[in-house]
Symmetry: C2
Amino acid sequence: MKTNQHATFGSRDGMNYAPKSAKPTPVCAPGEFTIAAMALDHGHIYGQCNGLIEAGATLKWVYDPDPAKVEAFLRVFPQAVAAASPEDIWNDPDVQLVTAAAVPSERGPLGITAMEHGKHYFTDKTPFTSLEQLEAARAAAARTRRKYMVYYSERLHVESAVYAGKLIEQGAIGRVVQVLGTGPHRHGKGRPAWFYRKENYGGILCDIGSHQIEQFLYFAGCSDASVAASKVGNYRNAEHPEFEDFGDATLIGDNGATCYFRVDWLTPDGLSTWGDGRTVILGTDGYIELRKYIDVARGGTGDHVFLVNHEGEFQFDVRGQIGFPFFGQLIRDCLDGTENAMTQEHAFKAAELCLIAQRDAVLVTK
Amino acid sequence: MKTNQHATFGSRDGMNYAPKSAKPTPVCAPGEFTIAAMALDHGHIYGQCNGLIEAGATLKWVYDPDPAKVEAFLRVFPQAVAAASPEDIWNDPDVQLVTAAAVPSERGPLGITAMEHGKHYFTDKTPFTSLEQLEAARAAAARTRRKYMVYYSERLHVESAVYAGKLIEQGAIGRVVQVLGTGPHRHGKGRPAWFYRKENYGGILCDIGSHQIEQFLYFAGCSDASVAASKVGNYRNAEHPEFEDFGDATLIGDNGATCYFRVDWLTPDGLSTWGDGRTVILGTDGYIELRKYIDVARGGTGDHVFLVNHEGEFQFDVRGQIGFPFFGQLIRDCLDGTENAMTQEHAFKAAELCLIAQRDAVLVTK
């Protein structure tokens, strides 16, 4: 069956975005890689679990202090057992990885606890809300030799983005010169209180900006970058004074490629999905445009890839054609001690740069 | 007849972009507004003359020291008389406006000469290559009370851009928060030597970046802005060491709106027109995307306007529907002493900001 990546939890709400792969390909036998889900604060936990389970993981436990969240989770993943406390998970030697979508400010500390109990950790983005948390996690990863991996879903769980990576690898656009991303999101209603508290969500560049910087480092093949400028603003939500509904940043990579991205919570009500996310990758010999979630005014589907190079103009509609190789690679990385899904340094570097962009941002609204 | 704005001089070459209006509407009687064309270095002179003539101007003279350029010009505009020297034009009291497309570094001085002879001046962009030239022109405009107007063609001579201005004016997207422009251009072959000399062309942000900043100020309704960061690079043309094939900048407007733009000379051979120029205007209540010259991989026409607001997703194909009101307004402004086409301060401010962005740019390639 061809699945629609927005179908499970409603396409109008990025908060509960939980893609299912058209091509699930388990990389291990049942029971060979056991996981637990904790901290169900953000709906991304469903996407994180879907991805891992499709790739062969066995979901054993779920824990959250809120019984309603656990109940909802068990309706989707009835194979899980509700743990009475986090200790059920920490003390179970079967559990190799804990996946979690805590309130952003709690993601770092939770990950360190997981690693100290010998578990790999796979958190929703953004992985940290302060540089201190990042440094503590770097130290814990080195000390425990466990992974602190991040669900940068806007690349890892988007087939058009996966396909763009393949095109670049094949040399379709030459050397990558710039990655330009726009990540509009629907604000909507019913957000929890922490969503509006800067101490908890970390700021817009720290939060949804982390996707963008991760994509830059990946598509441009940078291992480091500097933030040249960044901005934040609140244009439309004065009733939430700590909220930022606009942010942008521009970066210069260590290999001379550059990045610009804009993120916002200004998706208008009339858009038929949660956000018209685009990525434009400019190379010396062509460019790629991704219309990730919608080809606006042309119907509601996403994953449209446009390629222009010296040979011509091409369009590929890749929904259901590519799958999400990250999850299987992550499982194998955990089992084999490799770094094929994503290096630890890459995951941390994207986090570091979004924290720096946030820290140094100019406030453009008063 | 519905005209194609690329038809006259070839759609593959932005250098000779010379749109004709589907709706020419003269604003004055024949002979009421007399113009002369000088300095035919850039093919934009054809667009400048087309626009003015369609709006009612009478083209009396043409002058260039190169007889081949004059001959080619006279084939398109046989009504003009070849002047023997610039003095024929300077000393003709009939001539109210001189339009010119000199080598960029000569545009400022030529304009001052024109104004001192009592003529209004309408130059191809970019209007200056140094802040000193700009200050001299500011002083001359104040002293002579003549206009120093600029052919910012990527808005003034693009129907989709004109239409976007109307939509914003009508409140279709609320308050404008950001203008994001990409201006890729085809490098091609056969460029004159001055095109590669920084002293002459002024740098990529000064040159084609001027379009982008003008659009920002106009669409966002800013009267001033600061440049937060800018970059230039040469990724693909090492044989021209003073050439820049990449540039970008981000600005903060005096009303809190912001701008990011990228310009480049990296259009790949396979694109069916000279550049996939886009403008995305984000508002508090919707956004507009212009696909100015092509809707990539969907046929060769341009002027596609996409509007998303609280009411829904809309597409307008406006080629041949809108016309180019700037030219008639400019003629009336000259005749009536008004500033409806563009204020002098707006034309100068866009120039100033592109010169500052250029001066302060970080070089990202070594």
